[in-house]
Symmetry: C2
Subunit: 629 residues, 2 copies
Amino acid sequence: MPYGYNGKILHVNLTAGTLTVEEPPESFYRKYLGGQGTGLYYILQGMPAGVDPLGPENMLAITLSVVTGAAVSGQSRVMINAKSPLTGAIGDSQAGGFWPAEAKFAGFDAFIIRGRATKPVYLWVHDGQAELRDAAHLWSKVTGEAEAAIREELGDSKIQVLQIGPAGEKLVRYACLLNMCNRANGRTGMGAVMGSKNLKAIAVRGKKKPDIANPQALSAIARWGARNFPESDIYGMGLHGTAEVLSYQQKSGGLPTRNWASGVFEGYETIDGTTMSETILKARDTCYACVVRCKRVVEVTEGPFQVAPHYGGPEYETLSTFGSYCGVSDLAAIARANQICNMYGVDTISAGATIAWAMDCFERGIITAEDTGGIELRFGNAAAMVKMTEMIARREGFGDLLAEGMVQAARRLGPEAETLVTAVKGNPLPAHMPQVKRSLALIYAVNPYGADHQSHEHDPSYGGYPERMAELGLLDPQPDDVLNAEKVRYALYTQQLYNLLNTLGLCQFVWGPAWQLYGPSQLVDMVRAVTGWNVSLWELMKAGERSLNMMRAFNDREGFTSAEDKLPPKLFQPLIGGPSDGIAVTEEEMAAALPLYYAMCGWDAEGRPTRGKLAELGLAWVADELGLD
Amino acid sequence: MPYGYNGKILHVNLTAGTLTVEEPPESFYRKYLGGQGTGLYYILQGMPAGVDPLGPENMLAITLSVVTGAAVSGQSRVMINAKSPLTGAIGDSQAGGFWPAEAKFAGFDAFIIRGRATKPVYLWVHDGQAELRDAAHLWSKVTGEAEAAIREELGDSKIQVLQIGPAGEKLVRYACLLNMCNRANGRTGMGAVMGSKNLKAIAVRGKKKPDIANPQALSAIARWGARNFPESDIYGMGLHGTAEVLSYQQKSGGLPTRNWASGVFEGYETIDGTTMSETILKARDTCYACVVRCKRVVEVTEGPFQVAPHYGGPEYETLSTFGSYCGVSDLAAIARANQICNMYGVDTISAGATIAWAMDCFERGIITAEDTGGIELRFGNAAAMVKMTEMIARREGFGDLLAEGMVQAARRLGPEAETLVTAVKGNPLPAHMPQVKRSLALIYAVNPYGADHQSHEHDPSYGGYPERMAELGLLDPQPDDVLNAEKVRYALYTQQLYNLLNTLGLCQFVWGPAWQLYGPSQLVDMVRAVTGWNVSLWELMKAGERSLNMMRAFNDREGFTSAEDKLPPKLFQPLIGGPSDGIAVTEEEMAAALPLYYAMCGWDAEGRPTRGKLAELGLAWVADELGLD
């Protein structure tokens, strides 16, 4: 081995106010790599079953990986796991930005947070040192103000801040964390967990670049990326952001519209990536060392919906959830809703989808203007959408109910409202439609943290990148609209790959099979160059599978069974209009695909990892932990 | 893809006397690769369950791989599969030599043989052409004579001949095939299957070197091997042959002695690799393009046991089965028995082990000199051992019973004889002891073709090559004498790797994790260089797992269950003497390891592949074939 990987894990006990540094052996880093793998390792060992997600017993794992901070595109990401207050299952979310690399430069690989502080605190980590500091003056501040205050107080404008906003403080169940005020660890309510712990922020600053085992090899990979980027499929996304995909979704009938009643939205052209580039776009932004620059910076200085550049700009999913989901075609309104979410720390997907569901309820009379405090919460009402976003973020009025989550709110409103839900395990569906890309039906159902669009490959890259799929052993491309055995296999293998990406903390666009710049063998080369370990794709894919199994094992311990691997009724109703008119997922295909998927995973008929599968992945200790036979 | 792999499969119907050429698409080659994968593909599709292994319905698949014939060490191997007349399960055996590369140069990737010729024939394959020719004049000839006659008749001294000897013609149930008269596809009776079909030989000659996608890359890998060979651990094996391991086995108490009563043999020094090098060794021989030259050529011109160089020399397993198994320390006698086997076409391991078992029966009075025709079949009687080898090969006298196989003979002799058996699924144990390398206990039990030493990594390389094991995701080395969950995992992963080697047709010494020259990543690089496919270790390991599952699926179809995954009683009795004195495999560890192994494999409690596992490997068609739920 060219060098021995070494790193530090910071254990934070907020109840006791103690900080402890652990330096695990190199074999630990090689096995768990970081991200989901490392987070779940500590969570499964350190946390009993059945705890209140918003109680002090919940653990919050904020993790980097063994390659975070290496000077190559798509590596600066932070992964967060905890028991989710939205789903009761494992929570999981990832974000890019400059915080992750800076946290590595500050000397740590992970922050494992337990307990609850008696009063608001924040964690200040710099140059291998860490301290808890009073955050009373930061509490209730929006992200931009809190960030400025921390930098001012510590006297360093280059400090990076990962923080919750007021929504996290108020335990909005889909509150998020933000770094740079615009990179969100959005999903599954990790911000509420952090808020429940009275932890406002983790501020980081450091100058120690990570050791690179083979700097020449890494540099060659980075240069290759820069050289090939202009000719790659990701180039357009660099130009127009993830919003580039919106027109494509519309064309295939896969743009969720009016709470998923339709796959086409007549107003799509005014909210797509090209329009954004031509109108409100002020700049492109990027993550540490990344050539792609897919992040949007937008500004709106006139009209009812004004937007400041500091809070970034909407991603595709945000454009769709606040836009087509709600029937809203006003780009400025969407950008404003996005800004509110980034100021207050709210997941845009969950917020937009929940408002769209509420609009559906409103249109049907399940809720009325009386409930909403006079707001006409109708499809297409941009002002109502923006207002409701703010009310959720502040837990004001009807927003307080929606802040509990779509499924929880529906339960209060009764059976008709429940039939309109678009969520799995309580996690609202992101803007990719199983009706037109059928593998999503399966993965939405089975994914441990609920419906998610970054946990397998659902873009039609199977045709577009057959050589890269072949490296995964997928030699037999299937049409998008089938869910046969080969498609289930494809979904599983790419899910394992995505879990690897979420373990190594790699961006799916740069390192994943879709839209990608680099292929799987370059991924292997990059990990080799950074760590000096002669890893193989076999070893790495098994690490991805390991993470997936640890998450399912967590859910098993919490009592989840196949009953929770269920799509909402809406997906079985035919879509209306456009190329996807009349199309629905069928109960029959799901009834066939689910047991096949479980069996492919080596899980039991209830979708629970078996001792055999866990042991095969080097996780016999998890089977012991769960008391499996 | 730099070039499209194309190849030809020759289908031979001996009943009809027809030859048909199939040219499968490139995706077929990439998925099944050759060897076990390709053989089982045709066997599972073309053959019903329950056929007589020696009847015309049995199929004989003689396969090369996509890398056979490329100019690099350790690639010239031929793999053979059919239903085994020795075990009733899938048969499998591999051999090196010059025949495999020459067969590739002659234009074919595989020979799939069905039916039975009405009279003896041989197959003549040259330059993309093939014909069946009369073999009446070759029948009953020993291999050296038949080879010479074929070369003479066809007028080309460079023709390579893969053939059976008289033992195959007489359906000795562990008859083998030989090429060069000294490279044996030894195990599981594939020679008897060929004999039952009245097919004497496949003679090949060709000049078309296979297309290499990236000749520079391949050449660099080959040069690296040549350069690093003198410093590698395989160098000693080049000098002294596989016999080099004999002293090591003795030292660790792992040299099976007197029908496995002991793990040490007092006469080991007179039969080890160094002694052979210093006494009877005449030359070193090699396989096509291989730098190792591990093959022995020996000569004995005086005394009772004379040996001609044309028939090669004994491997470690042959030295042990005819030597320590039988208590024989006469090197010339062992070399003579080896020559008889190579002349008549008999598996040396099965022959030696069966004779040792018969000696054990003789010593205990279960059989007597009356049964053996006056031969004092006692441990240490070298002349009796050589004589009995010849009697088996010719099916003469008591040899006719032993030619049926150890387990079949024991069944005739009664319960006491059965307790002395050293075989799994009827396949005699090769010379590697589960008592001192405990993973062998598991793999001997579960291997689809019975006890075998080339189907997982059992040498203590886990300690010696931790970096190469780490590439397989095996980061936690275990002692040799335990069979815990991590060891079961190690056994399974290396079994999958060996099944890959037996699918790609690669020599375990050059490309496997033990004694190896090249590591797993170089294996990937080599396959890429030859084929132009950007394969990963993930894709390749899955191909190995695919082959393993196809073999188990075959056995399932034949009615095999976990009841057949059983070690003989002898292994549970304590060994006597030396470092392994008192050591035995325990029923308890096997009872724990078996279900864990099945579960790790994704098989059911009876060790049968499930539809889920098969579908996960892209083998849903096999599940259909077997009628699985």
